[in-house]
Symmetry: none
Subunit: 402 residues, 2 copies
């Protein structure tokens, strides 16, 4: 469904739509078991929402495909995740909560080791510590002199990883990686594919020339390699696309960045789950759409810690009970993708989802879990549809055609 | 999902994917009954795979559409069956296990009867026997003298049907049928739509001129009509598309030909089901993907023989138990389409499917049959998706986006 179809169907009203997202929610049973993390968790509150609402399974990208966090969240927000792939440099900047502007080109940087002939000896500079990284970034910032017409930002990520952002008018991101992907050879020169990118590549070249000089005595981290250049092109905002004034209540930088990418307001980092609740309550009147993001379900899945993921789901279950106080018009509870503890990674399995509103047909599902969700009214559908169904339940669409 | 999206996500590993295909598997109950052929059959082994795996229903083309064997198998192999329609001439050549090359144009031929003025009197030459067909083909081969620059192959199919293949450089298949589709009129002259096809049409004309002379005393089969000219354009192979070294274990020519069309290795015809097993075992180490095709479920469906189709399913069920010895990473059991005995033909009904791997969520389906499959995790999906889900379960895709 294309936004051109629905833009003239949009209705403005006072309804409130809450998306409660547990990152990596979907799971698998432990070997020999028959219950996923969600099915193992005691979730009386979510089960009650499921009983009153409708359930289903969402495919973030397409059956069989495992999404990264970027595409998965675009799906949740209703943006086609394949058509709107986000460049890696931009994702890295979002991942450290860097506020990109439409004049920015971003890239990932790795500190690396080069020999006296300039050949790459170690593409990760022996995985230097984050602390060393910070010091090197400080040193570069202190000594770098970029020409007029461009601002340059350099930010530590972790270990050998950093982010480079160039800000200026008429910059372009169609630039090759300078990382040669192997050792024993020279880094590649950055070359732009079009005029804007050529101009940008010249700035990158100048930056690299100076960095080589600045770091010449900092072996093993005596140079940098750049990858994933991408121009930041902000998406149509949630408000432009759906008429929804949207706010993100999220603790982790990547998800705050992804929310910013679609134009959500992103208030200061809430330290605790209680802070998240307070932030939701404080902002409840000023917004229509609330993206509430809990990260740890995914982290424990990635760790292979089935039990901790179960406990985290139970924590969110308890948290979710409070939402009744606010009486939203539509509540969606789901994940952005599956992260089964047994796989210790994101996976292709469809994600359990529940949608709760006044207008749900009873579907007999009384337990929020993967195998019950198969039987629900939402069916199995692309993730990008869920926001449209939520808006329908908020009576935010006129009928199509007469 | 476009292959451009996944080509950079492909992972090479040692996993084995087995597709066990019962042709025309899907069915309908007999009048007054409530169980399809598959639901009537005793299938303890398939039921066990279903219990451990996930089930669903596959649409070969699109809900409501009945596929031929060509499109249905393209769907199984993950090639869009509508975008990749195979020309009829090519399908006919595949159907007799003729090994086409990319220099070939193929067409269907019918022996026909013409009168002294050359007008078509019988478009099928009174349905001559296959034996007579073979003798006429021999006679034409013995007397035909084609010009340099083209090789011509003429092969008996059955009764009045034969296949014509022209092989040479720069040939084209955009040529009209010479069959006028009615009697009392002259056959049409072959005309090419473009330069390559015009050149080819001239060869066809010369062939027809000589055939008329050679068969002039062979009433009722004293001429031929050509239909469905098509240039053979081999598809990207399974190995190119998925990185899967693939082999077909199939007894019937059409399916062997379709496997060859997507670049599978096709070893000699296995005479018995035991031979099929031996062929699978012998080749197990050298390949990643195994297409195992059982034909008779479809043949009995076409005959309207419900009981024989049930028995054939039970035979395949027993055969399938042996696959445990090989311990494949992923097993898919399904059909290419439905062939309900009550319809005596292919049908539009979605096809029951099961997928078995280590990474299946329990879906509560313990019986492999159409009405149980509705309740499974695979849901109802286009047939062309199943190979992608199988590859995901074989851990052959990296995640999409970061």
């Amino acid at each position: 469904m294309n936004e051109k179809v629905w833009e003239e169907l949009l209705v403005q009203n006072d309804s409130k739509i809450v998306f409660l997202i547990m990152d990596g929610l979907g799971g698998l049973p432990l070997p020999g078991g028959d219950k996923t993390e969600l099915e193992t968790a005691r979730t009386p509150n979510l089960d009650q929402y499921a009983s009153e609402g409708i359930c289903g399974l969402l495919d973030p990208i397409h059956p069989g495909f495992t999404p990264g966090s970027g595409p998965a969240h675009l799906g949740l927000f209703g943006y086609d995740p394949v058509e709107n792939n986000i460049g890696r440099g931009v994702l890295s900047a979002l991942g450290i909560d860097f506020e990109l502007t439409s004049r920015d080109v971003a890239a990932r940087l790795n500190f690396c080791t080069i020999d006296e002939q300039g050949r790459v000896v170690d593409r990760r500079a022996g995985r230097i510590s984050t602390e060393v990284n910070r010091k090197l970034v400080e040193k570069i910032r202190a000594n770098l002199k970029m020409p007029a017409g461009v601002e340059l930002f350099l930010e530590t990520v972790s270990e050998h990883r950093a982010v480079l952002v160039l800000r200026g008018d008429g910059l372009g991101g169609n630039i090759n990686d300078t990382d040669p992907q192997k050792t024993g050879v020279l880094p590649l020169d950055p070359v732009g594919e079009d005029e804007a990118s050529q101009k940008t590549a010249e700035y990158v070249k100048e930056f690299l020339r100076q960095v080589k000089e600045i770091l010449k005595d900092d072996h093993p981290a005596n140079f940098v390699l750049a990858r994933g250049f991408a121009k930041y092109v902000p998406f149509p905002t949630m408000e432009e696309r759906y008429g929804l004034r949207s706010i993100a209540i999220a603790q982790y930088p990547m998800y705050r960045g992804l929310a910013r990418l679609v134009g959500m307001t992103v208030p200061p980092v809430p330290e605790t789950f209680d802070d998240m609740w307070e932030q939701l309550k404080e902002n409840y009147d000023q917004y229509d759409f609330f993206f509430i993001h809990f990260k740890k379900t995914d982290s424990y899945g990635e760790d292979g810690n089935f039990e901790a993921k179960v406990k985290m789901i139970e924590t969110v279950d308890a948290w979710s009970a409070r939402l009744r106080e606010l009486n939203p018009d539509v509540l969606v509870v789901t994940g952005d993708h599956s992260t089964p503890a047994v796989l210790k990674s994101h996976s292709w399995h469809p994600v359990p989802a529940l949608l709760w509103s006044k207008y749900c047909r009873p579907d007999g599902v009384t337990r929020f879990g993967e195998s019950e969700c198969i039987k629900g009214y939402l069916g199995r559908m692309p993730m990008k549809n869920i926001i449209l169904v939520a808006m329908a339940n908020a009576l935010r669409f006129n009928k199509f055609g007469a």
